[in-house]
């Protein structure tokens, strides 16, 4: 009986659901060590490589995108600057044109003023000469008239021939006198004016007598 029991016990199949403590311990230690090793030495490397790879691919795309954005912005800036420059140039041209017009108007104004000034000066000169001539004439006319009258009276006036001759002679004399006076005068214009005035004066004087 005793033997049979031992035989049965020896023969009795071991229960596969009963764990062996040794296997639990070995499994636990092996698994824990493996986990610690992989977690500290291997998986961080993989994570790093993943991150680097992600950065290399995604980062490259992001960089390209950023560069494109920058290029676009730069182009926009250049376009703006160009437009500004064009605007500025147009403004400058307009300004120059306006300034030119102003300058021309000013110059014209100046020239006209100068012309007016010259004209006025010439008029004044003429007036002064005229006055001087009249004053001189007034001095001479008396003496001339007296001289002419005395000559007319002194000579017998028989015919028109003689009379004309007398007048001509008188006028010649008058002219000679005027030429002398002109030689004595400083300004040619003045002399001419004087000459014309004295001739006019002579004419008037002749008319008067």
């Amino acid at each position: 009986m005793q033997t049979l029991a031992t035989v049965l016990a020896a023969e009795g199949a071991p229960n596969p659901l009963l764990p062996h403590v040794s296997e639990i311990i070995v499994g636990a230690v092996a698994f824990t060590l493996l986990l610690l090793f992989l977690k500290s030495k291997v998986f961080p490397v993989f994570e790093r490589v993943y991150a680097e790879r992600h950065d290399a691919i995604e980062g490259g795309m992001e960089r390209a995108k950023r560069l494109e954005e920058e290029a676009k912005q730069t182009l926009e800036q250049y376009r703006e600057q160009l437009a500004e420059a064009r605007h500025e140039a147009a403004r400058l041209r307009e300004e120059a044109r306006e300034q030119g017009a102003v300058i021309i108007a000013e110059m014209r104004e100046q020239a006209q003023a100068e012309a007016r000034r010259l004209t006025a000066a010439a008029h004044q000169q003429i007036e002064a000469d005229k006055a001087a001539a009249l004053a001189q004439l007034r001095i001479h006319v008396g003496t001339l008239a007296t001289e002419l009258a005395s000559r007319i009276v002194g000579e017998v006036l028989q015919d028109d021939e003689r009379q004309r001759a007398v007048v001509d002679r008188f006028l010649d004399g008058l002219e000679a006198e005027a030429t002398a006076a002109a030689a004595a005068g400083s300004a040619t214009v003045g002399a001419a004016g004087e000459a014309s005035t004295s001739r006019g004066g002579a004419g008037r004087g002749a008319g008067g007598s």
């Binding site: 596969p16 764990p19 296997e23 070995v26 986990l35 992989l38 291997v42």
Partner: protein, 264 residues
Amino acid sequence: MHLVNVAQAAQGTQFEAPGPGDFEFAPFLGGSAFLTKPTLIIVLGSLAIAVLFWLAARRASLVPDKGQFIGESVYGFVRDTIVGDTIGREGRAFVPYLTTLFCFIAVLNLSGIIPVLQFPATSKIGVPLFLALVSWVIFNYVGIRRHGFLGYFKAMMFPPGLPKLIYVLLAPLEFFSTVIIRPITLTLRLTLNMFAGHLVLLVCILGGEFLLVEKGGVLAALSIVPFGFSIVLTFFEAFVQVLQAYVFVLLSALYIAGALADEH
């Protein structure tokens, strides 16, 4: 024992079907219980994972070489496919644990079809039990940390928007399924899948061997059938072993996601 052997010898050619006894190993060199085939496989498997990952990460660069690519793919699979689809962004903290979990289970599962080793260490319930308990601690811990102790259990047992009477039934069920059933199913699903898979392979191979060696003649020639089956089943086992690792990790991630979620 002696009696049995004698009896078998007398019977001559009696096929002894493999059973749970084939999952028990005597310690090497008469040493302690810590030096058995399963524990050796656990240590070797862990070392293999550590070395392979170390090689993969040793010269990590932007453009990966083959080893780095494979290592990254495994890590990225857990990180993006499993964690990314269940927990989302805040799941980052759990990626190291879940990735290690996936590799650990997958390698110890695959040890069942790796020549020479040819024993899935995860068919020993101690390994899945420990891993299931770790997942259990993690998801309950993050749930309590997120919602507070009472808040966590309230969210678990009293999902809002149901008739009051339902809670009488639902609350204990939810507690039971979440706190008690989850670690048990995690453990048993993995253990028994590996156990059964290994047992079927054993039946095929030992059966074929029995026909070839013990019988002879026509029956020996027929041994090609179980041997052929064992090859097909090996490929199937490879699929199941990876799938079970995936399922274990996916469920762990789902449990964590559920504990973190605002409503169950």
